[in-house]
């Protein structure tokens, strides 16, 4: 199993470094360094059965934010760029990218032999249409805010697109990757039933096209014969079977009904360790299981209370209780970005439990006798229940009595959206870029949403600087400062990243996990006879 190696040099070059000056010319037909390594022994053919526990609500790459959607649509839709596990955005439908010295103008040369699943050839007009569509908030895309710095998009010729920004945005290339950066044929959404059609027919440029989508049952994809990378992909078809829960994934693997599955509970790997014929692949992820502290809520308004809570929590013990040892304890960034962007844990405040200091802080804040606090946990997120009990015990030691409130996801999202998070668990992921990870969640409105009511002017300044700075070393320094600030004023306590655990039958070859957990690797996988 290929594990993404995070190359420090590449990461420090960030999203711009090499590409900006040289572009990246590539031989026609050669397998690019995307989706995972090319395998010279790969053989064509076969249907791969994937068991998944979360069904995508639909397959619309523009109007659905859910990870379950993105996980599968990355095989059918492609952006101009690819979120390489190294943390770099690399050309995908673009051939090269040039950035003007002021960082405001991005010029993309497009690949010439790209065909949509509809049969049309891709041109710059399609790129302009797609990105103009998504950045218009009136079209209701959850990705609209990410494209907010774009001032206008023009086409120089059929294969050149120029994107002009209203202010520099070093993460633009990462924005044009595969979550919301998909390119579709122009006027795709002009038809009245366009959104419904995307559940029956794919219109992207990816290696697989949609063959059938039967809700509550399965998604079938077929190899796209006119795919632009010659000789790719190897599989004839992929069948995503929707299973009710984590236990049924384990059964499906054990009984060889499924060829591959990503375990929603990484600790389930232990049940499969001794099953012959199964390979277990483990990789650090871009997800975080965290505790959020709403700066507008009750005692949490006092920064000393937030610090005391952080100092009373033993993250390692919480992770052990929730998922065993199958993850990485976090500081202030996710596991798969720790090497490239993270501040070392020993340079951050409030990372190691210190009960005396916590009690002192609470006493200073006028809570010497302790107090009661509600902790919100989301029904259906299994890790939260053991974590809640563990944290309740830990906080008890400094006099904070937790009442655990379990709420339904819809209810929780409502509170989140209206910036009424209180004291709650959270479970979320990112693309490998610090601006995308932090900005919307922590920047004050109107530029960001500051869901935790952190209202920290220093953080706002750093977040804006980080967005506008393209020099990788300077950019990293800014995000290190931001993380120190987070660790000192505690708007959130990132607990741990669960490992990505993907289990394959031995006949499945050359599947590489991506730190997002999305199914990119199936574009390079093949089935041995």
């Amino acid at each position: 199993m290929w594990t993404p190696s995070i190359c420090r040099r590449a990461a420090l070059l960030g999203t711009t470094g090499l590409l900006a000056t040289h572009g990246m010319p590539l031989a026609q037909g050669a397998a690019l360094d995307i989706y995972g390594p090319a395998d010279p022994q790969a053989r064509r053919g076969g249907t791969l059965t994937v068991a998944i526990a979360n069904e995508p609500p639909n397959l619309d790459p523009f109007h659905q934010a859910g990870d379950a959607r993105t996980a599968v649509t990355v095989l059918m839709y492609q952006g101009l760029m690819y979120e390489h596990p190294s943390g770099e955005a690399r050309p995908l439908l673009a051939e090269s990218m040039q950035i003007s010295p002021d960082g405001l103008t991005y010029t993309f040369r497009l690949r010439r032999n790209v065909t949509f699943h509809t049969g049309q050839a891709m041109t710059s007009a399609d790129v302009k249409y797609s990105y103009d569509y998504i950045r218009d908030a009136g079209n209701g895309s959850p990705g609209a805010a990410d494209f907010g710095t774009i001032a206008d998009i023009t086409t120089l010729d059929d294969h050149t697109v120029v994107i002009r920004l209203s202010r520099p945005n070093a993460s633009l290339p990462m924005t044009l990757t595969n979550r919301f950066g998909s390119v579709v044929p122009r006027d795709t959404f002009a038809a009245a039933n366009a959104r419904a059609r995307l559940s029956q027919q794919s219109v992207g440029t990816g290696p697989f096209r949609l063959a059938e989508f039967r809700p509550q049952s399965h998604i079938r994809m077929a190899r796209f014969p006119e795919y632009w990378e010659a000789g790719q992909p190897h599989l004839d078809a992929i069948l995503f079977s929707v299973q009710p829960n984590a236990a049924s994934l384990v059964q499906a693997l054990r009984n060889r009904r499924a060829d591959i599955a990503q375990l929603p509970r990484p600790q389930d790997a232990e049940q499969l360790r001794d099953v012959p014929g199964l390979n277990i692949g483990t990789a650090p992820s871009l997800r975080q299981n965290s505790l959020d502290l709403d700066g507008n809520f009750a005692q949490l308004r006092d920064v000393r209370v937030r610090q005391a809570i952080a100092l009373a929590i033993d993250k390692q013990a919480v992770m052990q209780a929730s998922i065993g040892g199958h993850g990485t304890v976090l500081g202030t960034t996710v596991a798969a970005m720790q090497d490239s962007w993270g501040a070392p844990l020993n340079e951050l405040a409030t990372q190691r439990p210190n009960l005396d200091r916590a009690r002192a802080l609470l006493a200073e804040a006028g809570h010497a006798g302790g107090f009661a606090l509600d902790l919100v946990s989301i029904i259906g997120f299994e890790w939260m229940d053991p974590a809640a009990v563990t944290i309740a015990q830990q906080l008890q030691r400094v006099g904070i009595r937790l009442n655990i409130q379990r709420v339904e996801l819809g209810v929780w999202l409502n509170a989140f959206r209206t910036r009424n998070m209180r004291f709650t668990f959270n479970d979320w992921g990112t693309q490998p870029d610090p601006h995308i990870l932090y900005y919307r969640h922590f920047r004050s409105p109107p530029q960001g949403a500051d869901f935790r009511n952190w209202a920290n002017a220093d953080a706002d300044r750093l977040l804006d600087q980080g967005m506008e700075t393209s020099d990788p070393a300077a950019r990293k320094r800014i995000y290190l400062d931001l993380q120190k600030l987070m660790s000192e004023t505690v708007p959130t306590i990132m607990l741990f990243s669960p490992n990505l655990v993907t289990v394959t039958q031995s006949r499945v070859r050359n599947y590489a996990q991506h730190p997002t957990g999305w199914w990119f690797g199936l574009a390079r996988a093949w089935i041995a006879a």
């Binding site: 934010a65 809700p215 999202l413």
Partner: protein, 315 residues
């Protein structure tokens, strides 16, 4: 007879209208909506949120939304799913056929198993066949369906190394895959309903066995074939048919759990997914169909009752 039927139909219609209105309001009273589900943690952009809410008509007052929906339903249009954009009629229709197959097969299985057991137990009351049937019923009735289902799943998978196919196949697509898919759900539901049937048949048999005409028949020395085959069965059949309706409605209720457990894309799972995603059109369409089925089954039972028992005809 016709008057009674018209009355029943009227009551059924009123039930349908009231229950759909209740569902319509209840689901909207639950916090969160489809827009929140689509945005997830990418929320925060008010303009995009407002645009989506307007797209689904969620910005209109409740009464306008209900009248709009009810008007479409009366014109035979259940609308489109807010998740997949596909017509609700198609989604619900397909899901209903899946559930119906499981429901009917379960009904037949529970009839074939439960009725003979119950009659034998009723005739041999207090003796060992009765005790065996009682023990079986007690266990099967006490175990919740999700537990029975889980035990079946684990047992077949660990001891037989067999588990149902990952993907449900319709009978027309691949009959053997289809039967493999529905085997465990039918067994899980069937055990419970067979037990319920056995209990009911036993009790009815016991009642009829005490009647004078049975005693007279036995006293007259009629052969057992005639006593049980003609006199007993004919009289036990009426309540058993009524009970089939009750059982079928119960089965349709139980499939929600079983379909979720066994990944069967029937009405129950569709309903649950629609609730979780706040997909109001699918939820309302699926519940409308469920309500209509329950009403229809009850109506049919009444009619059947009249056919089997001449005494009911004039009433």
């Amino acid at each position: 007879m016709l008057g009674a039927l018209a009355g029943r139909l009227g009551a059924a219609m009123a039930t349908a209208v009231l229950s759909t209105a209740a569902v319509f309001l209840l689901i909207r009273a639950v916090p969160g909506d489809v827009v929140g589900e689509m945005l997830g943690q990418s929320a925060g952009d008010r303009a995009a949120e407002g645009a989506l809410r307007a797209f689904f008509g969620l910005d209109r007052p409740l009464w306008q939304q209900y009248i709009g929906w009810a008007g479409d339903v009366l014109r035979g249009d259940l609308g489109e799913s807010w998740r997949q954009g596909m017509p609700v009629a198609g989604i619900v229709g397909e899901a209903f056929l899946v559930t119906l197959q499981i429901g009917l097969v379960t009904l037949v299985v529970s009839l074939l198993v439960g009725v003979p057991l119950g009659i034998v137990a009723g005739v041999r009351r207090g003796r060992w066949p009765d005790l065996v049937v009682e023990a079986f019923s007690l266990v099967a009735l006490s175990a919740p369906v999700f537990w029975t289902g889980m035990v079946l799943l684990i047992a077949t998978s660990t001891w037989l190394g067999w588990s149902p196919p990952l993907i449900y196949a319709r009978p027309g697509e691949n009959l053997s895959d289809n039967l493999e898919s529905i085997a465990l759900p039918v067994l899980a539901l069937g055990l419970l309903q067979a037990a319920a049937y056995a209990q009911f048949a036993r009790q009815q048999t016991a009642i009829v066995m005490r009647q004078d005409f049975i005693r007279a028949a036995i006293a007259r020395g009629l052969p057992a074939r005639v006593v049980y085959g003609r006199h007993l069965l004919r009289n036990v059949a009426i309540p058993l048919v009524t009970f089939a309706g009750v059982i079928l409605v119960q089965i349709l209720g139980g499939v929600v759990v079983v379909e979720t457990l066994f990944a069967i894309p029937g009405l129950g799972r569709t309903l649950l997914a629609a609730i979780q995603a706040r997909d109001y059109p699918v939820l309302q369409g699926a519940l409308l169909v469920a309500v209509l089925i329950a009403l229809l089954v009850n109506l049919l039972v009444d009619l059947l009752y009249a056919t089997i028992d001449p005494r009911v005809r004039g009433a």
